[in-house]
Amino acid sequence: MNELKLYPIKCPQCGAPEVVRRGTRITPCERCGARLCLTEVHTPRYEVTSNLSAAQAAAMARAWMERQGKAGIIGRPELVFMPFHEICGRRVGVFERRVPERHRVYKERYDPSAGGTVVEPTYEYTQKEDTKVMVADVEHMTPAARAPWDLAMFDARAARRIAALRSFDLVEAQRRATVYAEERSPDATAQERFAKKDTEIVAASGRTLFFPFWSIPVQAEAGSYEIVVDGVSGNVIAWRMPETFRIPGLAWAALAVPGALALGQALHATLLGEAVIDPVVLFVVGVVGTVTALFRSNRPDWRIRSWPEAGAIPRFERGEG
């Protein structure tokens, strides 16, 4: 899908052969100058231009590390282009809905102090069945490929508003960056996102936008990790790095001592019958203490932690409410 496809066409006016690039819709004939229009067009592809150089991205990452109190050697930033599908159109349809309604009613109540009935206003809540005619705008931006990092903190729509677009040239882009391939077509994205029983999308237009990211490797004592900087705004949108545990493995190993003592005491009480503490309790405490100590002390004192963490940012899923 990521190949640069060229289409041979023939000018219907003068018969001159032409070659057009994927996504082209209107092109002039080089021989007779007639304007030619292709009736079947693939999704146009654009590159979101980045004004952030590699040095600026590295400086952003360095400043971020200083703020976080991290130390490491910053490597050479790598430019990565990630495809997003931008789908615009209008959703039209007629669907049923229930509208909550509040009615004011007056009820009679016997009031002993007044010696008779009084009328008091109150409210009744009902649901009215209604038909809603919908004509709404659709503007959807979604990643078209699986990124090695979580893109939850990347606001593609905001980046789209502040950046300029230019026609995407795959060959030229691959010379200076790693380009991720689209894993599905914009039509498939639109179908998955907007296929609903009561509504349909009309006047839809889809585009593939390639957003730039700077992937910056950082070498630290515990290992190498990565900081990802948004190529449009310069914000750090994701990182993967080692994190040291507060309690070192040696401290957990010390837990094995009371665990072993508890196990020995349980064995002693079982064999000789001189139990001060219930042997079952001692056995359970001993097993838990020893197993925990062996498990926790045999791991490294750090782990790779990534941000944004999975599930840390609530996401709206279709079908939920």
């Binding site: 006016q13 229009c37 292709l38 039209v92 004509v135 705008d137 349909e200 006047a203």
Partner: protein, 222 residues
């Protein structure tokens, strides 16, 4: 890099009647011939002709005029037996009978239902325009196809009737006619455009192709 064995169908953008080159921006699907005023829409089979009209500008023009494309449709809406209160039923019938023509903007607007789509306003008020056909003003092409316009405009009419009575309770017979390409003038203030009849305004930034439209019109004017 490889060439596909079978290419897409290619259409020469020339008016079939007078052979004038049609002004087409990158996303246009229908055009008004600047010479003879005929309208052509691109379909898979090639160019097909659509009825073409333009609206005469207001008599006292004080600002530069910019013509914008709209799809227009004849509407036949009839409310039959209904199970509503009399007032609602009469209101819906009255509303349905009043709408005889509907419009939808055929140029690209960013979030049209949010910033205001003038086609809805024209459908609602049904302006008394002086409509002409034939050679007339230069107008940019339409970015929405006639079929899409038909689907949208049907819902505009349903929405208008729904304002009077719930369309779910109505036995409604709605027929939307074939698309006609209209060119309707507006005042061009540079940073915004204004409708001469409703005085509604749209920021230039809401119109995706406005700069391309202006460039194309200036090129033709020169």
């Amino acid at each position: 890099m490889r060439a596909e064995p079978s290419g897409p169908r290619v259409v020469v953008l020339r008016c079939k009647a007078c052979r004038t080159e049609l002004p087409a921006a990158s996303h246009d699907v229908a055009f008004r011939c600047p010479q003879c005023g005929r309208a052509w829409e691109i379909e898979t089979g090639g160019l097909i002709e659509r009825p073409s009209y333009f609206v005469a500008p207001p008599r006292a023009v004080r600002q530069p005029i910019l013509y914008l494309p709209y799809w227009s449709f004849t509407i036949e809406a009839e409310v039959k037996a209904a199970f509503l209160a009399d007032g609602d039923e009469l209101g819906a019938r009255d509303k349905a009978a009043r709408i005889t023509r509907a419009w939808v903007a055929a140029y690209s607007i960013h979030r049209p239902t949010y910033v205001g789509e003038w086609g809805i306003a024209y459908t609602r008020i049904g302006p008394k325009w002086e409509v002409r056909s034939g050679h007339g003003p230069r107008a940019p092409g339409a970015t929405i196809s006639g079929v899409d316009g038909q689907a949208i405009v049907g819902h505009y009419v349903l929405g208008e009737i729904d304002r009077k009575a719930d369309v779910g309770d109505l036995d409604l017979d709605l027929e939307v006619g074939d698309p006609e390409l209209w060119a309707i003038p507006c005042y061009d203030f540079g940073d915004k455009i204004r409708c001469p009849w409703t005085r509604a305004e749209l920021a230039a930034s809401c119109l995706d192709d406005l700069s391309e439209i202006r460039r194309a019109l200036e090129r033709h004017g020169a």
